[in-house]
Symmetry: C2
């Protein structure tokens, strides 16, 4: 068992995070329990910023609020100097409550209500990234009514159809990712038309997710140069969005491959950590390309909107083993939280038996939640020590798209605690009661 | 456009539900807005009960609380005389609050916490259906401490592996549905062992979902006879669970088929309503088989746990069109609610343009939500009239696994109104504010 340095196995075989016994913690707060690591969360932000700034000084990092919109976690990002990327009125509310100044807030999204646009413009947020002409018209109108010139960015879509199983699958749904922003092929005309709105100032371009952009960097630079020279638009912000995943997913294709691997006597590769995004390399590539190609113009800022990369490994979820079953020749470990708390069950997460942390892996099991449908998985075919009922599982890498994506299906949400920089425990979200779930309802 | 009789198109072309103008309703309450039809909900229950009782008098219908646990809706089922099927402490709390008497509550589920078991036993609910021996041991211990004999049912799993694409797909995950309950192959031994717990009284058998049981009815009857004759266990309840869907889903296979249909010039079949479950036929089959085979024993009650079949078509969701886009040769209709409110996007739902309800279908579109990821669908490749921004879409069949499965990802939840039996409008769940979403959190 390879544990990261913040973890330690105590002499009683309990898993400790900075010296805090996670078994004791679970006894105090019950399970399920989300535990966040403030130190790592701050380090993640600093590493991300430093990596990009090393190659390109004018780098801005926006924390993607929707990834995990807990107020304390957002506040920590605000304290670090991050900007906030918000994508709805709720996100904007959270950003304000967490203390982000208006000039450090960027509003994104395929659809924003008139109410949210009005709030954002009244609050004088830094930038609104737009994805359609109807939105530009709406913003232009509202800004006009308020007598302001609104700074906007334009989202350009670099989505490419590939010769792959995934792309073929997506074609059945008309390539859903292609609907965001404006196609790169029409982008010049979009900027030209956008520049004519009297109450809009075009200051940015957004190309989320970053990995779609990488192969098209020269094309993107040509566009930026052209809109500068021909339209006189000097972009201040080149925004590469997010998508910097540090984990990997298990697809049906992986499961099929693994099935055949095992048929011929090879070991399962499902638990083998795949290489995570090489931020060093990406930052150098982006910086070098921009510096080489965007000459003869004021240097723009580059902007990123990470969420997953910053908060995912800073969060873990403690779950209790409720029962163990055998069926279809598999062992099923049933725990007290499932896709109600970790909806993206295909993402691979490391599991540690927190009350017997040095026990060696012994068998392949399915770890599943307490909900009443088949696909309520925590981990598909993963190697674990021999599990007993009552064991405590620490599900690592549970900070992103878990709480923000959670439901109140069958279970109220669990409490969330933070181990702060002094390794002191703070409750940053109270446990929901049954009444918290239904208090807006009435019995007729 | 074939509208059910409760709907009417008014002279101003607005869609009316029992004379209530849905456009006006959306103007009053905003969008998104859930609208429930009390009359239809009650009718659904009565039809379901009547159909089964016609063939088998001792029929019990349990409303599956998790399908939609709104207190008013649950209260309506309680008033109709339904039992409640609960599957967690939250469900049990809701059932109590909605007025279900203890002897009309059944507790199901793969995993139930000791706390929930204790609550249920203390409250003297009718029956606990168990799915593992460790659970029996837990219940036996708690019942012993409380000095009661707890009535339990045993869940028997009739899941069969089939030669089909779906079954092959499920095999990659070790047939997840097989983990529920006990395999039919071991069921006799399970009942034998279960009968030895001193504080348990075995009174039922559960075989959810009903459709797995149909082909195995004779086998099930043999089992029931054998445990009566050899173990002396007289079952009072034969529970066939739920699964009575009245709608259908769009799978990737359907999309592939449709792709080729259109290639050869045939019309799309995606919008073609598939036959829904024939409850008449099922009830006759079950009743006849039981009457024929379960002779020489006291007549047991048959129990059903529908949810979807009762509440799905009683609910609709009103959504506003925010913008319209073209990409990948498709038209994308972006509305103000998506998989945050209707997570099971593969389920096919009829859409009506509520403000121009008689407009004929004109084109095939993708209707998508406002969230920031590709698979945020409301309807995949569906035929609609030519849509304009600002149009109001009524998404029918939105009552089951929508509210109970909803998230607070990016958006607080919308209000829910009920058109009661007098077609008067009652708010049965208040709109969530931003603060409702974050009030349990603290800014450090």
């Amino acid at each position: 068992m390879k544990l990261k340095e913040r973890f330690r196995v105590a002499t009683n075989n309990h898993l400790e995070l900075y010296g805090v016994d996670l078994v004791k913690l679970s006894n105090k707060f019950g399970t399920p329990l989300f535990v966040f690591d403030e130190k790592l969360f701050r380090q993640n932000y600093r590493r991300f910023l430093r990596t990009f700034q090393k190659n390109y000084q004018k780098t801005i990092i926006c924390y993607s609020i929707k990834t995990n919109y807990n107020l304390t976690l957002c506040r920590i990002m605000q304290q670090e100097g991050a900007y906030a990327e918000v994508a709805s009125g709720l996100d904007l509310h959270v950003a304000k409550r967490a203390g982000f100044q208006a000039d450090r807030i960027i509003l994104d999204g395929l659809y924003k209500s008139a109410r949210t646009l009005r709030e954002a413009i009244r609050y004088k947020i830094n930038l609104i990234n737009v994805e359609s002409f109807s939105e530009m018209e709406r913003i232009n109108k509202i800004a006009g009514e308020m007598g302001v010139k609104q700074s906007v960015g334009i989202r350009v879509n670099l989505y490419r159809k590939r010769m792959s199983f995934k792309s073929m699958y997506k074609s059945l749904y008309c390539h859903p990712d292609s609907r965001f922003g404006f196609s790169i092929d029409t982008a010049y005309l979009v900027f030209r038309r956008a520049s004519k709105f009297e109450n809009l100032q075009i200051t940015g371009i957004l190309t989320h997710p970053y990995y779609e952009t990488i192969a098209s960097l020269p094309k993107l630079c040509s566009l930026i140069k052209r809109i500068q020279s021909e339209l006189g638009i000097e972009l201040q912000y080149i925004n590469f969005g997010g998508g910097f995943r540090s984990t990997w997913s298990i697809s049906p294709i992986d499961l099929i491959k693994d099935f055949f691997r095992q048929k011929i006597g090879l070991k399962s590769k499902l638990d083998k950590e795949k290489k995570s995004t090489d931020i060093e390399k990406i930052s150098a590539l982006i910086a070098n390309t921009l510096k080489k190609r965007l000459t003869d113009m004021p240097e723009p800022s580059i902007v990123f909107e990470p969420g997953h990369n910053l908060v995912n490994d800073a969060g873990l979820l403690l779950l209790r083993v409720g029962c163990i079953k055998e069926a279809s020749g598999c062992k099923w470990i049933v725990v007290d939280g499932g896709t109600n708390l970790i909806p993206i069950y295909t993402e691979r997460r490391e599991l540690i038996v927190a009350n017997r942390a040095s026990a060696p892996p012994a068998e392949t099991v399915n770890v599943v939640g307490p909900l009443l449908y088949g696909m309520d998985f925590i981990a598909i075919k993963t190697r674990l020590p021999r599990i007993k009922e009552g064991d405590l599982l620490a599900v690592l890498n549970s900070g992103a798209y878990t709480m923000s994506f959670s439901t109140q299906f069958l279970y109220p949400r669990p409490p969330v605690v933070l181990l702060d920089h002094n390794a002191e425990i703070k409750v940053i979200r109270d446990k929901e009661t049954y009444e918290d779930v239904v208090h807006l309802e009435k019995v007729a």
